[in-house]
């Protein structure tokens, strides 16, 4: 079974000359096979109809009804103004943990599913913590591994340099794209040693950013992961002052209008998630000239993956901006495109968050077991301080139609819920931009069409055959 990737020409020629036979197999192939047997087109139609009906309902109900779910209920009163600044200790503890994980990456097991570093970064942090942050709120504000260290180095004095306002969130966008490019395009992002170096560089560079430009500024506009986490934290249902609760997203509406680059950052979180699904599909592999049944390995398609990530991002920016522009034209609204874009772009965050949950659910269910196995034997000596083991990792639930269908339903549910929430948020945001309700509703027509189409895309990404 030879795989003769067209994009790796020398290999292709050699392999073709050999006439060798490849054994094409996929991780979780049975899951994908079972998903292909599900009536996924019905799920797609149902999801898109749900979103479309939400749009219709919003057009018909009085504006105050549309805004009501986002009006917070005050459970406890508290002082307004900036919240309490976190002390250095939680952050210093995370920094120490980060450094210990880097050391483990360099010197520990070479197994990406056994070494604690790749498990901590990709499963616990990227899948787990990002989800937690969106559900609970800004834990990262307390736990990021830079605040404490930066305070130790720079003290409480003024930052050395000012990060130019006109750059806005551009450094964070660039940073987030670098992280995504590393995750999707690097041949071995979960190799413990490779990842250790990457994390060390990232930690060091971000610490330097915090010291030079000030922690608050750098984590908000410079460091991509923190910026993403702060955006997702805005989706938590509760917030201050005191304790106030409403439908997730209300804090995005209460926040001061974002800048254009902050809007682009929000769209980038969505484009990254979408491309992470897209780049596994038969459709994408065929587009870049790769036979999906003989995937040549990540190292053969680095350029295509980076180009795909960047073009997906730019395309999404352009399509979203065009939808906002068309809406303003339709409604004859006297709002500038920049203002409307900055107000509306963050409303895609629930879509990005819903897709994050859906896309990583299977990986979380499998790799979560490896995390448990690692915790059950933290030193590789058989010592199990938490009494968690022994753990035998299984993927049997991906072999069973019932569990595969349940997983698919949860995934589809997360995607559809995310879109419904985004539609509601966008409508409420439009009412704040355009006072006259009828014109506000008209302005939402192109954006609603975009979101219905995106529902299809999100569900299709879950259901499409994949080969990488």
């Amino acid at each position: 079974m030879s795989r003769h990737p067209r994009s790796v020409k020398p290999l292709a020629v050699l392999a073709a000359a050999l006439g060798a036979v490849a054994w094409p197999v996929w991780p979780h192939v049975s899951e994908m096979g079972l998903v292909l047997l599900l009536p996924t087109e019905i799920y797609m139609a149902a999801g898109a109809w749900t979103v479309a009906l939400t749009v219709l309902a919003l057009a018909l109900v009085p504006p105050r009804w549309a805004e009501a779910p986002f009006r917070p209920l005050t459970l406890a009163r508290g002082p307004s103004g900036p919240g309490q600044q976190p002390g250095p200790w939680p952050s210093l503890a995370t920094a120490a943990l980060t450094l210990a994980l880097i050391a483990a990456g360099l010197s520990g097991s070479r197994d990406p599913l056994g070494n604690p570093l790749p498990l901590a970064v990709w499963t616990v942090f990227w899948i787990g913590f990002v989800t937690l942050q969106g559900g609970v709120g800004d834990l990262w504000h307390w736990l990021n591994p830079w605040r404490g260290a930066a305070a130790l180095i720079a003290g409480q004095g003024a930052p050395l340099l000012r990060l130019p306002e006109r750059l806005g969130h551009a450094p964070a966008i660039a940073g987030l794209l670098i992280v995504a490019a590393f995750a999707f395009a690097h041949p071995a992002p979960d190799d413990p040693a490779v990842l250790a170096i990457a994390v060390a560089l990232w930690w060091g560079a971000s610490l330097a950013g915090c010291v030079v430009f000030g922690t608050e500024v750098w984590l908000a506009r410079g460091e991509g992961l923190s910026a993403l986490l702060r955006l997702f934290a805005g989706l938590a249902p509760w917030g201050g002052p005191g304790v106030r609760v409403a439908l997730p997203g209300w804090r995005l509406l209460e926040a001061p209008a974002a800048s254009t680059t902050a809007g682009l950052l929000a769209l980038t979180t969505l484009s990254i998630g979408s491309f992470d699904g897209l780049n596994e599909t038969f459709w994408w592999l065929a587009l870049i000239g790769v036979n999906p049944l003989e995937f040549p390995g990540r190292s053969a398609i680095i350029g295509q993956t980076v180009a795909g990530l960047l073009s997906t991002t730019v395309l999404l920016w352009a399509v979203f901006a065009a939808a906002v522009w068309a809406g303003l034209r339709l409604a004859r609204a006297e709002v500038t495109l920049a203002t409307a874009f900055a107000r509306l772009a963050p409303t895609v965050l629930p879509i990005a968050f819903g897709y994050h949950i859906a896309h990583y659910l299977t990986t979380a269910l499998v790799n979560g077991q490896y995390v448990q196995a690692a915790l059950a034997d933290p030193l590789g000596t058989g010592w199990d301080p938490l009494g968690l083991g022994p753990v035998t990792v299984t993927t049997g639930f991906l072999n069973t139609p019932d569990s595969v269908e349940t997983i698919f339903q949860v995934q589809a549910g997360a995607v559809v819920l995310g879109h419904v929430l985004s539609i509601l948020l966008a409508h409420a945001a439009a009412l704040r931009l355009i006072a006259e309700p009828r014109r506000a509703a008209i302005s939402q027509i192109p954006l609603a069409a975009f979101m219905i189409a995106y529902t299809f895309l999100g569900l299709w990404l879950l259901a499409a055959p994949k080969g990488a």
């Binding site: 096979g33 071995a188 049944l293």
Partner: protein
């Protein structure tokens, strides 16, 4: 650890003396040549594992079998009295990383050899580097690339048969029992083309005929439109579809034929690690599959099969003992077990003491011929061809009955033989 565990490199004279002693000892029946045990440093075996990437489902099971085999070897006293240490490195199922991993084994981990690669493109990408580094490279890939002569003296496949012999050996049974007129349905790329070429020739040699070749584009996910191309006089359908569309393919083929289907023969590769009792696969009832090793324990299960399953943690249905739904890659993974046992036998025959003896190890394995059915070879007896660096062995044909696979035929080893295409022993080291 402060203790220096590095083996002392023997000079040439001691090495020769030791070799002589080892060879003499190895010649004595029942004698375990522990004479080499002057060093307690482990034998380091670099395991090139598909831990991530498209081969991960296989890599997980190759890992379990490798661990189980290493444990058994160590329980038996190791190799030449030295413990066996498995050093696993993930290659991401990526040829370029594969070559890097081989290099790491040789230079960073100071492994004695590399082992365990499945995917052919990774073997093909890694083998040249192993040759340059003079690192013995024992692959478990089934590819014909070893026996075809395009690799090198340092690359061997002694623990698993190659696809050419597997496909060829199916023809006598198919033509004698299922029918002479065959329609082949295969994915339209090298993997499918190899099946097409090997099987078409083998059927002709048996007096049968492949009357239609239906090549399916790799991106296809619905197959109904291809079935009308199956000629009416077809007696046997030979399918080797792979990828996520396999279950859909089987379901749609069942819907197309209804109850009056021709005999159906396939390669278990299509459904490796997939539960045969999955819904949609009911149509496979009564159809036939090649299996490298029968997934379901048979009524006449050997003690070797039993021992192997227990050691690996696989039940009588070929699934994990910890989760009966977690179906293993049973038809292929025995190759890791057998290869590690062959490495032990080779090292002991060569009196292997360290990297300086790598050539001796290759020569010792090249000198091997018969490998009888045993705990070391639970899949069955094998005959190793030192010239082509490829092993030959029994192939199994099973029938789906009641949602499980029952063995109906084991081929002879002779059925699997074909003329040598290379003599690696004539290549210099």
């Amino acid at each position: 650890m402060s203790k220096d565990l590095k083996p002392t490199a023997p000079n040439r004279r001691t090495a020769l003396k030791v070799l002589g002693a080892g060879a003499a000892a190895a010649a004595m029946p029942g004698f375990v040549p522990y004479v080499q045990a002057q060093s307690s440093a482990p034998i380091k075996i670099g395991f090139q594992q598909h831990r991530t990437g498209i081969g991960a489902a296989y890599g997980r099971w190759y890992g379990r079998v490798t661990e189980a085999a290493a444990k058994r070897l160590n329980d038996m006293g190791g190799i030449n009295g030295r413990p066996v240490e498995i050093i696993a490195e993930d290659d991401g199922t990526d040829p370029r990383r594969g070559a890097e991993v081989v290099e790491k084994f040789a230079t960073r981990h100071e492994c004695d050899l590399a082992f365990g690669t499945l995917f052919s493109h990774v073997v093909i990408g890694s083998s040249p580097r192993a040759g340059e580094l003079k690192l013995p490279y024992f692959v478990v890939s089934e590819g014909h690339h070893v026996a075809s002569g395009k690799l090198n003296r340092y690359t061997l496949q002694p623990g698993i048969t190659d696809v050419k012999s597997q496909v060829q050996a199916m023809a006598p049974y198919v033509s004698a029992n299922l029918g002479k007129k065959v329609t082949m349905i295969f994915p339209d790329f090298a993997f499918g083309h190899d099946h097409r070429d090997f099987f078409t020739a083998a059927m002709a040699a048996q007096g049968g005929e492949v009357i239609e070749h239906i090549a399916i584009p790799p991106t296809e996910t619905s197959f109904t439109k291809y079935f009308p191309k199956i000629p009416r006089q077809t007696e046997v359908i030979y399918h080797v579809m792979v990828g996520p569309g396999v279950l859909t393919f089987v379901k749609e083929m069942g819907e197309f034929f209804g109850p009056s289907a021709p005999a159906i023969f396939g390669f278990i590769d299509s459904l490796e690690a997939v539960d045969i009792a999955s819904p949609g696969l009911e149509f496979l009832e009564g159809s036939y599959f090649w299996e490298g090793m029968p997934r379901y324990a048979q009524a006449d299960q050997t003690s070797h099969d039993k021992l192997y399953r227990e050691a690996v943690g696989v039940d009588a249905n070929g699934a994990s003992m910890a989760d009966g739904k977690d179906v293993s890659t049973f038809a292929h993974m025995f190759g890791c077990w057998e290869t590690l046992h062959i490495i032990k036998a080779g090292m002991e025959a060569a009196g292997y003491a360290g990297p300086a003896d790598r050539q001796k190890l290759i020569e010792a394995v090249e000198a091997m011929t018969d490998m009888p059915l045993s705990d070391a070879h639970p899949q069955g007896a094998k005959v190793f061809n030192g010239k082509t660096h490829q092993t030959f062995g029994h192939q199994y044909i099973s029938q789906v009955k009641g949602g499980r696979l029952d063995l109906v035929h084991a081929t002879s080893i002779e059925d699997t033989l074909y003329p040598d295409e290379v003599d690696y022993t004539k290549m210099s080291f």
